[in-house]
């Protein structure tokens, strides 16, 4: 396989996506309606929080505005999966119908080539909404943003994004072995809904699962603590900026194994 520099890949990515977006912009109405849908689905859980805090003052020690911050962090962290890796939802069809074979024939990194097939524009709505909410809640909470903190924020958001990407992509890759990965994929996708809750409400098996096995705690709650309660965080929280990289390394191995094991389905 040809070795290309990251800069070259970046240039290629922009070239490919520019064409993709031009093609998509023909369906303006579809983009508008999808964006409205995105806003609605993003704000549903937040709406439930708002109603809930109408009756209580705090949830496991967290105020409403702190929950908004965690939720905003969550929205930003799940956006790269939505925007950049959306193509993985189609992997099961490509594997089943044999259209996946074409990805073997380009002098490009296969995962890069596969991911570049789609750029989900409506996901940008979620990202912008998340950033807006993060700024709003930071101001309301009077959080102290130093350049160093902003640096940690970027690092932790990237890491949290990789956690979300790893969970969904690994689930999607099961298609290489079981073809119809929908049950696995939808289950992995559902797990993300539990990420914005304070992990401290769980105990026993649930807590262990969400921390170590399906570590959705690292999508929003643990990294958020670095900014909300920097003085009183558990040592586990400091792992947050790095968990994503480790998980993604595993996911990449699963993908490579799958790609090498795939022989087509005969159709």
């Amino acid at each position: 396989m040809a070795v290309r520099s990251p800069a070259e890949y970046l240039r290629l990515y922009f070239l490919i996506e520019a064409q993709y977006i031009k093609a998509r912009l023909q369906y303006r109405a579809d983009f508008m309606i999808s964006s409205v849908g995105m806003v609605f689905s993003s704000l549903a859980t937040l709406g439930v929080f708002a109603v809930l805090f109408n009756s209580i003052n705090e949830l496991a020690g967290w105020s409403f505005m702190e929950m908004v911050f965690i939720y905003a962090f969550y929205m930003i962290a799940i956006s790269p999966m939505q925007i950049l890796f959306d193509q993985f939802w189609w992997l099961r069809f490509d594997v089943q119908q044999g259209t996946f074979l074409k990805y073997y024939f380009r002098p490009l990194n296969m995962m890069f080539y596969y991911v570049s097939e789609r750029f989900d524009i409506k996901g940008l709505t979620q990202l912008v909404l998340g950033i807006g909410l993060l700024i709003y809640s930071s101001v309301q909470l009077g959080l102290d943003w130093t350049p160093g903190r902003v640096g940690i924020l970027i690092l932790t958001v990237l890491s949290a994004s990789l956690v979300q990407i790893s969970l969904v992509v690994t689930a999607a890759c099961s298609a290489f072995w079981i073809v119809n990965s929908w049950p696995v994929l939808s289950l992995a996708w559902k797990m993300r809904e539990f990420a914005p809750y304070p992990m401290t409400i769980f105990s026993g098996l649930m807590r262990i699962t969400f921390t170590y096995i399906l570590p959705i705690g690292f999508v929003a709650f643990f990294p958020s603590q670095l900014f909300l309660r920097p003085g009183s965080v558990s040592s586990l929280v400091y792992a947050a900026p790095f968990v994503g990289l480790g998980l993604f390394a595993i996911t990449y191995r699963v993908w490579t194994h799958g790609v090498n094991a795939y022989t087509g389905t005969g159709s």
């Binding site: 579809d30 999808s34 849908g37 549903a44 109408n54 209580i56 949830l59 049950p183 559902k190 409400i201």
Partner: protein, 262 residues
């Protein structure tokens, strides 16, 4: 009636093909039931009741709510818009059948199958694992009727979104907006009692609450009497209105259909 019964029987058989997807939904729901248990435990803290509801009432409500979501989902919005896009819908147009009834019959099989396969294990889990008891009261006798009406109303939402496929290429956005509106405004995610009074008093007259709140309160509010009858009346009213609206929409929408060969 006979052709529709045949369709309903066929759809039951078809839905058995998707048993793994079904299993995943049930498994996902089990995780949700556990998450909801801890979440609402944390919400209640030391409080005995919030907004007049005990923890047991709220948890039972939320747990059965998410279970109903799986049971009531018809996927008609997705399949219908797909069939319109691909031109498959033409097959139905030349058959001597009522389109709306045909669609209703084709989703009733999935509904009946999931009532048994999803509800039974869920109720066992709630009562045995989480130790929340199911109150038995006369109101429970009305539950099957209310569940059927809830199914019809939810079908009407899905059917309406599916019909919008006559006008637009992709229904992702519309379907997502519908799902969100129904889930939040119906009190499926959070009981309607938790909303501020003014919003709650509006919500109880809308069709959304008829999908979840009406049938669920038959179980979780056993002490109420006439209120149940009023809610059932509202529910039946909305079922009639929405079925009629669906017929009008269909006759408008089908006029714009153009199928390019195929």
């Amino acid at each position: 009636m006979r052709p529709y019964l045949a369709v309903a029987r066929g759809s039951t058989l078809v839905s058995m093909v998707y048993r793994f997807g079904f299993l995943a939904a049930v498994l996902g729901n089990v995780v949700y039931l556990a998450v909801a248990f801890y979440l609402w435990k944390a919400v209640y803290g030391d409080a005995d009741t919030i907004r007049g509801l005990t923890f047991d009432q709220t948890y039972l409500y939320v747990a059965l709510g998410s279970t109903l979501f799986i049971v009531l989902k018809t996927y008609i919005d997705w399949s219908l818009s797909h069939e319109i896009r691909e031109g498959i819908v033409a097959i139905y147009l030349i058959k001597p059948i009522d389109f709306q009834l045909y669609m209703l019959a084709s989703s009733v099989g999935f509904f009946l199958l999931s009532v048994v396969t999803v509800t039974v294990p869920t109720v066992l889990l709630i009562t045995l694992v989480f130790g929340v008891s199911l109150p038995v009261s006369p109101a429970l006798a009305l539950f099957p009727l209310s569940l059927l009406l809830a199914f019809i109303i939810n079908f009407c939402f899905d059917y309406g979104v599916g019909l919008s496929g006559f006008y637009t290429e992709s229904i992702w956005g519309i379907s997502t907006v519908k799902d969100t509106l129904v889930l939040v405004l119906s009190g499926a995610l959070i009981p309607i009692q938790f909303f501020p009074d003014m919003i709650r008093d509006t919500l109880i007259w809308l069709p959304f609450q008829a999908v979840y709140y009406t049938p669920l309160s038959l179980i979780t509010l056993p002490e109420e009497g006439w209120e149940h009858v009023v809610r059932l009346g509202v529910q039946a009213g909305w079922a009639v209105i929405l079925l009629a609206a669906g017929r009008v929409f269909y006759h408008q929408a089908v006029k714009v259909l153009r199928i390019a060969g195929g």
